[in-house]
């Protein structure tokens, strides 16, 4: 991208259902909370979810396909978040399909957004086909969302290979996309029992820097059902973990939390808090 200040971050995984949209919403919100003008773009044309997770599904008038086809301007399509300052959403189309996306169209939108925004978060669909490839093509950094489970790790590994070879940076021989690992749905109890891969196991195979570990949490379901990004639920473990991850992304040195099984005291066992 022309503007070196604006950073384009793709949230990708390969595998479906691991937490990309949850992460895009939480991460984008976290960046905006830190004062950066942020836009989150939904690249899942035809199966859009970002608007639901962000709670703005009733405010979608125009979408990214309308903008690409010149049927609407960016300003008309962008939805401003009601809760957080500096946060905008560009929804995907629900009626069209992925073929409506084009590389030139995406490039045009990103160039225009780069003029005003500090961060552009691209919520990628699952898979390694057109939608996913276009979401990552112009990225500067990538957050690879992975569940501590073998097929997710295998798919994330595949996606890392694609990131290294099919991005604009790779094709132009520039600095490669900076890769970050975000482990989601992590359960320290199950890791201890040997039922789940540990952070180390995943890192051994993927060999990319760990951005954060998001614990399995009831707060995530609660948040998506209420249309609120989980990072706004600052009391929850998942919310805090996402805010930690954002801080690390911005350069802060924060220790990883929620990695060991909770030592539940007598009272928490009694009242069943989580």
């Amino acid at each position: 991208m022309e503007n070196s200040k604006t950073k384009i971050v793709v949230i990708t995984s390969g595998k479906g259902g691991v937490g990309k949209t949850t992460t895009s919403a939480a991460f984008g919100t976290g960046l905006a909370l830190k004062g950066y003008k942020t836009v989150i773009i939904d690249f899942d044309v035809g199966l859009r979810n970002l608007d639901l997770i962000m709670g703005c599904e009733r405010r979608v008038v125009y979408d990214v396909i309308n903008v690409i086809h010149g049927e609407a301007t960016l300003t008309q399509a962008l939805i401003k978040d009601k809760r957080v300052e500096n946060l905008y959403i560009l929804p995907a189309s629900q009626t069209r399909d992925k073929d409506a996306l084009s590389k030139e169209g995406v490039e045009k939108i990103l160039n225009e957004l780069s003029k005003d925004f500090d961060f552009i978060v691209c919520d990628s669909p699952a898979g390694i086909e057109r939608g996913a490839l276009l979401a990552m093509y112009f990225a500067d950094e990538a957050i690879v969302v992975t569940n501590p489970e073998v097929s997710s790790v295998r798919d994330s590994d595949r996606i890392l290979g694609v990131l290294a070879s099919k991005s604009q940076r790779a094709e132009q021989g520039r600095e490669p996309i900076k890769e970050h690992l975000l482990l989601t749905r992590y359960s320290p109890e199950r890791v201890e029992r040997g039922d789940m891969l540990s952070v180390q196991d995943v890192q051994e195979i993927l060999s990319i820097p760990l951005l954060g570990v998001i614990p399995e949490s009831k707060a995530v379901l609660k948040a998506s059902n209420s249309g609120q990004p989980v990072s706004l639920d600052a009391e929850s473990d998942a919310g805090q973990a996402y805010l930690d991850a954002v801080a690390r992304f911005l350069g802060e040195n924060r220790e990883h939390r929620f990695l060991s099984p909770e030592k539940r005291g007598f009272f928490s066992k009694l009242f069943g808090r989580k």
């Binding site: 057109r130 595949r158 890392l160 694609v162 290294a164 070879s165 195979i205």
Partner: protein, 253 residues
């Protein structure tokens, strides 16, 4: 025969796709340019075994004719075709012969031997003409020579690397679902998961070296072994694999 295919491109609305592939071809070395003698000898061969050639694609080796300035490639092609040989290209010879051959519709095959000067298409030409094709180098490499290849980043699932005419050295780990191929040896300074095929052109002296062996499949000159379970039976640590009397041996380093 082994094939090396790269990933398919993003756009699917073009009428063709360019892919890289690998084929083993027979070579017919011409010792002189006497076509009538050539015809006689080819005829003899076909008389003894009528289906001997069977439209086999062949490469003409002009190594013995480097002092020739001129050859009638059209006539050579006609002669070969008469006996059901399909000449697809030439190798060896000199620049002048290459030029004449190309004019007659022959491809000039690139000699994979390291150190050989490429006389035809250079890598830059390829880049220019095939912008969106799949022939772009997929991995960041330390050197781009044909021959041994050195790669310092991990090989990811779904990626395939081939060191043509040399050794393949990976100074990182190889993920499950990745594939390494080499005419020579394969060295993995990391954990080898995925598949490793060394000596794929029949080099039985090729070896595979790795820091940790967790591969799905290994092969040397076609002799292969599949590891159905994780190699629990083997102690951890650096290993080398080689052929001894046609058997694939795994030995700790």
């Amino acid at each position: 025969m082994s094939t090396l295919a790269s990933d398919s491109p993003v756009e699917t609305e073009h009428s063709f796709q360019l892919k890289g592939s690998l084929f083993t071809l027979s070579v017919l070395q011409l010792n002189h340019a006497n076509l009538s003698l050539l015809r006689e000898e080819l005829g003899e061969k076909v008389r003894l075994a009528p289906k001997f050639f069977q439209y086999a694609p062949i490469v003409l080796d002009l190594g013995a004719l480097t002092h020739y300035e001129d050859l009638n490639f059209e006539a050579i092609r006609k002669t070969l075709t008469e006996f059901q040989l399909v000449p697809v290209g030439i190798r060896g010879g000199n620049k002048k012969l290459h030029h004449l051959a190309q004019e007659a519709g022959f491809a000039v095959m690139l000699d994979p031997a390291p150190g050989h000067i490429r006389t035809s298409v250079k890598k830059d030409d390829l880049k220019q003409d095939i912008q969106t094709s799949t022939q772009k180098p997929e991995l960041r490499e330390a050197s781009l020579e044909v021959g041994s290849r050195l790669i310092t980043s991990p090989i990811r699932s779904g990626q395939q690397v081939y060191a043509q005419g040399g050794d393949l050295i990976i100074a990182a780990s190889v993920s499950p679902g990745a594939e390494l191929l080499a005419d020579g040896n394969i060295h993995v300074y990391g954990t080898l998961r995925g598949r490793a095929l060394a000596g794929i052109n029949g080099n039985e002296k090729a070896r595979i070296f790795c820091y940790e062996l967790e591969a799905e499949l290994v092969s040397i000159a076609g002799q292969y072994k599949v590891f159905e379970e994780h190699s629990h039976a083997l102690p951890p640590g650096p290993k080398q694999l080689f052929l001894r009397d046609g058997q694939l041996i795994i030995s700790p380093l």
